[in-house]
């Protein structure tokens, strides 16, 4: 509406209409933004407000008539529930382990791929592939094709070296989930860090080399400081996605054996236990946790952003 009525005005050269059109012009500038903004608020913010409201009610979907306001009871219950506290811990452990391991591996691979060698393009393509498998499919691949104690590839290979043939998922359930996620996310970290490596100032490196710096000194004093913001970005984006991971936990262990993270627990408490109030309170707590990460995250992104603006 606003767009159609003000667009001709906005198109009028500024010297013809000065004062009265200023406000209209401001609206014309904002108008293209509005549909997206309104849509986002309606689809993401409103449901969250609803979650917040529901979290103050004692409300089991199986007994809808017994619904009543209970204040902070749900939060109290969530915070004192041992299983739930455990899932908080699992979420932290899963996220930190996967992000760190895939960052370190990704850095090593990026350093290898930054060099010229025969078939570099092919190796790069091979390395990216794990990130491009649909997450559920990747989780199924690890669960059935690799981890299976009887005919999985891992134990099949161990057979040739005569090693033990453990039941991976039962013995080390969380590690099994983490390994599959590290496999999926290492390529992503590698791609970000490779972009970082390739944006280094080559002249600076040449100058350092002429001055007699060796490879390690160049890496330690030039490459690593330059990569810092890329490492931060990788850690940040990895955390955002892995904190929310549902697919791998759901597929590989179905949340069993102590691997239920928060998203899985919230899913379970309303999808299976039908406890709307508890699920909402847990969901709100996930959001609070995410806000803490996001505050830090936005600072990193905004510093990247400022750099970009000042460069322009």
């Amino acid at each position: 509406m606003t767009a159609t009525t003000t667009a001709p005005l906005a198109a009028t050269p500024a010297h013809m209409t000065k004062q009265p059109s200023a406000r209209l012009r401001a609206w014309a500038t904002r108008a293209p933004l509005l549909p997206a903004l309104v849509f986002m608020i309606a689809v993401t913010q409103l449901p969250f407000v609803a979650t917040l409201v529901i979290s103050f009610f004692d409300w089991n979907a199986l007994y809808p008539k017994a619904r009543h306001f209970t204040g902070l009871d749900n939060y109290h219950q969530v915070l004192t529930d041992a299983a739930l506290r455990h899932s908080v811990w699992t979420t932290v452990l899963l996220t930190v382990a996967v992000v760190l391991a895939s960052l370190v591996l990704g850095l090593a691979l990026a350093l290898l791929l930054d060099r010229r060698f025969r078939g570099r393009g092919i190796v790069r393509t091979l390395l990216i592939a794990p990130f491009l498998v649909v997450p559920v499919a990747a989780a199924l691949l690890w669960k059935h094709v690799l981890y299976n104690p009887e005919y999985g590839l891992l134990n099949g290979l161990l057979h040739y070296v005569g090693g033990p043939q453990p039941d991976w998922i039962s013995n080390t359930p969380l590690l099994a989930v983490e390994a599959s996620l590290v496999w999926q996310w290492t390529p992503f970290m590698m791609l970000i860090l490779l972009a970082g490596l390739q944006s280094r100032d080559q002249q600076q490196i040449e100058a350092a080399r002429v001055d007699g710096a060796n490879d390690w000194q160049i890496f330690r004093h030039l490459t690593l400081p330059h990569l810092r913001r890329y490492l931060e970005l990788g850690a940040l984006l990895g955390s955002i996605y892995i904190v929310q991971n549902f697919d791998a936990v759901f597929t590989i262990t179905s949340g069993g054996l102590g691997t239920a993270n928060l998203p899985y627990t919230v899913y379970q408490s309303f999808y299976q236990a039908h406890d709307n109030g508890l699920a909402s309170a847990a969901g709100v707590l996930v959001v609070i946790g995410s806000i803490i990460i996001a505050t830090f995250a936005l600072r990193v992104v905004s510093s990247l952003f400022r750099e970009e603006v000042s460069r322009a």
Partner: protein, 275 residues
């Protein structure tokens, strides 16, 4: 001498790493062409004869549920939501990059922050709403949600791509009397087209991959490909070849799209921060 050796040596290490990372996928592909009996052996059978039985089973000629409805649902949800995202994000990104509004970085950060809101935070109200509105098991609900899921990323990516369009050209078009739709279609789109293509690709991939919403909000009719795959979670060894065939077929669109746009993919995923 040592320099040559070192360069080749490290190249070899890179090759080895590439093969190790790709091995599970190669093994999955090989297994998908084995008979179920050959797939479930220990030690693994490398030389077993190849067959298309796994694929025949997956596509339903073996009596199981046909994956076609799920594949079609995924295609509809991914393609239509991507188009909706473009329709909403392009004008928004235009406003943010070419004619910056006051406090425009705040608006950008608002968009980005919605991406950090965990899906579980809104899942229950959306489920209850869908149930009361009779929209459970309806693919169009997923279209709306996937549009919202990808819109923030798309706005961020596109504003960084559109920022590369010279303002002078746009001003010239404006002086010539062109209106916003014309400017977008005739001036901005051609220059920003590669970026728009990359954005679409990423939205497509995220929608195609999504599981949690689809799992909770769909059932029989609107089931998507990842939900179809969850049917294999408890599958026993008998169906290994079928599981592999299913996983590969369903991953194929993402693999193809991802290989085609490797650089744009990472730039998009890092919200345009890495150039």
């Amino acid at each position: 001498m040592t320099a040559v050796l070192r360069r080749n040596g490290l190249g070899l290490v890179a090759w080895l790493a590439g093969i190790v990372f790709f091995l599970p996928i190669a093994w999955m592909a090989l297994t998908s062409f084995h008979s179920e009996a050959d797939a479930a052996t220990n030690p693994p059978s490398f030389g077993a004869s190849l067959t298309l039985d796994g694929y025949r089973e997956f596509f339903g000629s073996g009596g199981g549920a046909s994956p076609w409805p799920a594949l079609i649902n995924s295609t509809v949800a991914s393609v239509v939501s991507t188009l909706c995202v473009l329709l909403l994000a392009l004008p928004a990104a235009y406003a943010l990059s070419i004619r910056p509004v006051k406090k425009w970085t705040d608006v950008l950060f608002f968009f980005l922050s919605t991406k950090m809101l965990p899906v579980v935070a809104g899942l229950l109200p959306i489920y209850l709403f869908a149930k009361n509105a009779g929209m459970l098991d309806n693919i169009w609900l997923l279209v709306i949600l996937y549009t919202a899921m990808n819109l923030p990323i798309a706005v961020w990516m596109m504003q960084s791509f559109l920022a590369e369009v010279p303002v002078a050209i746009i001003e010239a078009a404006r002086v010539d009397g062109a209106r916003l739709p014309t400017i977008l279609a005739r001036v901005v789109a051609p220059i920003a087209l590669p970026g728009i293509a990359a954005t679409s690709l990423i939205c497509f991939i995220f929608s195609w991959n999504e599981l949690l919403f689809a799992r909770v909000l769909t059932g029989v009719v609107a089931e998507t490909a990842p939900v179809f795959l969850t049917g294999f979670i408890t599958s026993q060894g008998l169906f290994l070849a079928k599981v592999c065939a299913a996983s590969l077929v369903i991953s194929l669109p993402v693999l193809a799209a991802g290989f085609a746009a490797q650089d744009k993919l990472v730039q998009g995923l890092s919200l345009g921060a890495v150039k």
